[in-house]
């Protein structure tokens, strides 16, 4: 005991001295990374961690374009091959130099990873041309090669080779199995992980010889603490306990704006929230007029303004602005009179009773949105028996399609419309895995064919028109009830300038963050 106190005192002195010029940033997210193996799970948290500890070949910028990172430049050789020229003089945290070998090794590991292999399914292989050039070859002409490339975060192949102390290969990818990769990291990113206590705290120190010397970032020591409870996370910021928090609940936007020492940044997001109408369970939903009546009965502006406090962009389609498939003139159509007329036309004037299910801790205000939609539907005599469940219980019920109308939210991994259609509206097909989240059992072969054609179309302009055509078809057919795209919000103390490092994909580039004293 005496020893540890002495150590503490010494530590305080030492850090006290070095604290003079080093800046420490305390960050509070709603969860901390599940693992350090960035190929173990495809989730927002892991990708945010990847951007702190690793670097991708190229990354999205604010305008949804691409910035070169570890790949200084790239050009398309032919329909199937994209050549990447790697940056030289980049070192890993372990001190090894980064070469093309590491990139190919990383690509092959991605192909083996359960979560990531779907994204790289269109590619046959990656060939090493020389020490600093690689070729990415797709099986067929594939328009989203660069989108996929943003997921390649080169890993230190030497560091991850061989077997660890309990005999397992160091590069093993296994869920919740305490693998070597899940406990250690050697990447090229701006921060190194110094200490990690899962669910409590993760501490990062600036990587001394980080390759990106022009990066303005001056954070030397970063402490990430997960705070699950929204109110507590906001209080932590207001009381000065932390310098940067995300996400910020809509109910606290005003409080942060009004507080002189804190500063709020919001951006319209790309996660669409929608309701499916299960045609198999309810006869009426097979009738297009009933679906359109429901579409007319929902007041997306009202929900966005009142429940989301203006913290969401009302939607009438799947693809948000900036996506290829976005069709600007598809607008929300709220008109209760027209809705009642359509119901009469379809012969359901005195309406019917349906069941509705929604999660209550998965999306922002999910249970409150569901209640509002239920209230709106009752105005056209559709009586709703609503049940909200925590996400752990909701997803099994979703897989079984246990309710007539079910809520789901989706964010495209490839930041592209095709992904939205493939998972949400294409005819459910067990073996191809298409329409996996299509809880409406809506099936429109013509739309599906168009999507498949767009997937092979490398010319962006024609591809965009094809995808927009699909959105128009789904809009006319009222295949589903879109609500809004959830906005993103971050907040920080005034001296932490988070504006430049934030983006629509919600991957804060903390490496470039400037903190003024």
């Amino acid at each position: 005991m005496k020893k540890s106190i002495a150590a503490l005192v010494a530590g305080a002195l030492l850090s006290g001295a070095s604290l003079a010029h080093a800046t420490t940033l305390r960050v509070a997210y709603d969860a901390d990374p599940v693992t350090m193996d960035i190929h173990e799970q495809l989730s927002g948290g892991i990708l945010q961690f990847s951007h702190m500890v690793f670097d991708p070949l190229l990354r999205w910028n604010k305008q949804l374009g691409f910035d070169p990172r570890l790949a200084s430049s790239w050009e398309r050789i032919d329909d199937l091959t994209m050549r990447f020229h790697l940056r030289e003089g980049v070192t890993f945290h372990s001190g090894n130099k980064m070469t093309a070998k590491d990139v190919v090794w990383t690509f092959n590991r991605l192909k083996k990873s359960g979560d990531f292999k779907a994204i790289f399914e269109p590619f046959s292989e990656m060939k090493q041309v020389d020490d600093y050039t690689v070729d990415l070859i797709s099986k067929a002409p594939y328009p989203l090669t660069l989108n996929a490339a943003t997921y390649i975060f080169p890993m230190d192949s030497k560091f991850y080779s061989g077997t660890d102390k309990n005999g397992h290969p160091k590069d093993e990818i296994k869920k919740s199995a305490n693998t070597f990769a899940s406990r250690n990291e050697s990447g090229t990113g701006p921060f190194k992980v110094t200490s990690r206590q899962q669910g409590v705290k993760v501490e990062f120190d600036r990587f001394a010889d980080y390759w990106d010397t022009e990066s303005p970032g001056n954070v030397d020591h970063l402490v990430l603490t997960p705070i699950k409870e929204d109110a507590t996370r906001v209080s932590a910021l207001l009381s000065g306990g932390v310098g940067f928090i995300a996400p910020v609940p809509p109910t606290d936007l005003a409080r942060i704006k009004s507080n002189p020492d804190t500063h709020l940044v919001t951006m319209s997001g790309t996660r669409i929230i929608l309701f499916h109408m299960n045609e198999k369970r309810v006869e009426a939903f097979k009738d297009k007029r009933v679906r359109q009546a429901i579409a007319y009965a929902i007041n997306q502006e009202g929900i966005a303004a009142k429940i989301m406090k203006g913290f969401a962009t009302p939607a009438a389609q799947l693809s948000p602005e900036g996506y290829a498939g976005h069709d600007a003139d598809l607008a929300p159509r709220y008109d209760v009179a027209k809705a009642r007329e359509l119901m009469k036309e379809a012969g359901y004037e005195d309406g019917f009773t349906i069941t509705m299910m929604a999660p209550n801790n998965r999306y922002v205000n999910d249970d409150k949105i569901a209640q509002a939609v239920a209230a709106m539907l009752s105005r056209i005599n559709i009586r709703v028996d609503l049940k909200t469940l925590p996400k752990a219980q909701y997803w099994p019920a979703y897989d079984e399609r246990e309710a007539d109308m079910m809520m789901v939210g989706w964010h495209s991994d490839t930041e592209d419309s095709a992904n939205l259609f493939e998972f949400l509206t294409m005819c459910p097909d067990a073996d191809t895995g298409m329409g996996q989240y299509n809880a409406g059992n809506y099936c429109n072969p013509a739309a599906d064919a168009l999507v498949k054609k767009a997937n092979l179309e490398t010319d962006p302009k024609t591809r965009a028109t094809e995808l927009q055509q699909v959105e128009r078809m789904l809009y006319d057919d009222a295949a589903f009830i879109p609500l809004h795209w959830q906005d993103l919000a971050w907040a920080s103390r005034n001296n932490v300038e988070i504006e430049p490092i934030l983006n629509v994909m919600n991957f804060p580039y903390l490496g470039d963050l400037v903190v003024k004293d």
């Binding site: 509070a28 799970q41 669910g199 705070i227 507590t232 219980q393």
Partner: protein, 349 residues
């Protein structure tokens, strides 16, 4: 005495066995753990592969057999989220909760005894009435509300200016009722002193203690009113007894009569009832730890529920079952010590 402990140990084993049986039976309704482990866009077939790999598709009895066999060897399964043996995860989170419960019990003891005794001695005085009033309101206010109010007042600070700010007495009064906060409102702070094993204590550093203040206060706020009322009602009865009257007849000082003669007899029922309440405080830690992001077993359990990390849930319930048997045994032991009329092993086993 030894026989008593062995019997209780056997009881503890039985309790944990029954708990593991019941929690295994509700495995199905605790949600699908696989869904939490994989990204949203992972194919169904990939998920089934993983479920097969984790042995979740085996029939329930087979899974339980495997679990029971490991449990006998002290291995309560592997947590999906922490990917570590569940016992390690629990032991890692246990010190935080124990320190919180210890601190809250201390606050309860320090406040409930004096207030309870005073309210019993002078039941009619206005101070006693206000204390009882506050204690009654304390019972009905949910712990969430008390926690949020405490954070708002003492961590963020409240600046209200009902009084005229131009006059100096006005500003002085405003200053008096405004708080500028400053107390930490989450987590255990950064200066934890390492004791042994996984026990990093917050007691030995000012920062650690400051972090303990608000959570312990709000946890104590649940039980404090109950103890005050219990001590008051038991004390009232004891003060009517003959031995208190005899003590007065012996000319013993009131202080000694109240705090030795009467209090020792009052504490008997309070210990037994209090002992149970301390046990249920473990359930209340779940709420307090969520609000204060206190990395204890309560928060770990709630997150395990949201992530349907089933092995951790089962292990936690068994450990909590053990804790209850231990606390109840301790309560019986303490009761035996304090109440000489009760022989330890005999009557009370």
């Amino acid at each position: 005495m030894i026989a008593f402990l062995i019997q209780r140990l056997w009881h503890a084993f039985l309790v944990m066995f029954v708990i593991s049986l019941i929690s295994f039976s509700i495995k199905g309704s605790l949600g699908d753990p696989v869904r939490e482990l994989v990204g949203q866009s992972v194919s169904v077939e990939q998920r089934n592969l993983l479920r097969e790999e984790m042995g979740l598709n085996d029939p329930l009895p087979v899974q339980y057999g495997r679990f029971a066999w490991d449990a006998l060897h002290g291995d309560l399964g592997q947590s999906y989220f922490y990917s570590k043996p569940t016992l390690d995860v629990i032991v890692e989170h246990m010190p935080a909760t124990l320190e919180l419960v210890l601190c809250a019990s201390l606050i309860i003891l320090l406040f409930s005894v004096p207030v309870g005794v005073y309210a019993a001695i002078r039941p009619a005085s206005w101070l006693a009435k206000t204390c009882m009033g506050i204690s009654v309101v304390g019972i009905s206010v949910p712990v969430f509300l008390t926690a949020i109010v405490l954070i708002q007042l003492f961590s963020i600070g409240v600046h209200i200016t009902p009084f005229p700010t131009d006059t100096d007495w006005g500003t002085w009064l405003n200053e008096l009722i405004s708080t500028d906060g400053g107390l930490p409102s989450f987590g255990r702070g950064n200066e934890l002193v390492h004791l042994f094993g996984t026990w990093d204590t917050g007691f030995f550093s000012v920062d650690g203690l400051l972090h303990l203040l608000l959570p312990a206060a709000s946890l104590a706020s649940i039980m404090l009113p109950l103890f005050i009322r219990l001590i008051r009602s038991e004390m009232l009865e004891v003060l009517q007894s003959d031995y208190v009257r005899f003590a007065r007849a012996k000319g013993i000082s009131p202080g000694r009569i109240y705090f030795l003669h009467a209090l020792k007899n009052t504490m008997l029922p309070v210990i037994t009832v209090g002992g149970v309440q301390i046990g249920t405080m473990v359930a209340y830690t779940i709420l307090t730890e969520t609000v204060f992001q206190w990395p204890g077993m309560g928060l770990m359990f709630l997150e395990a529920i949201t992530r349907s990390d089933i092995p951790l849930i089962v292990a936690y319930l068994m450990v909590v079952g053990l804790i209850f048997v231990v606390t109840n045994t301790l309560v019986d032991l303490v009761y035996g010590l304090v109440n000489p009329t009760v022989k330890l092993t005999g009557q009370h086993a």
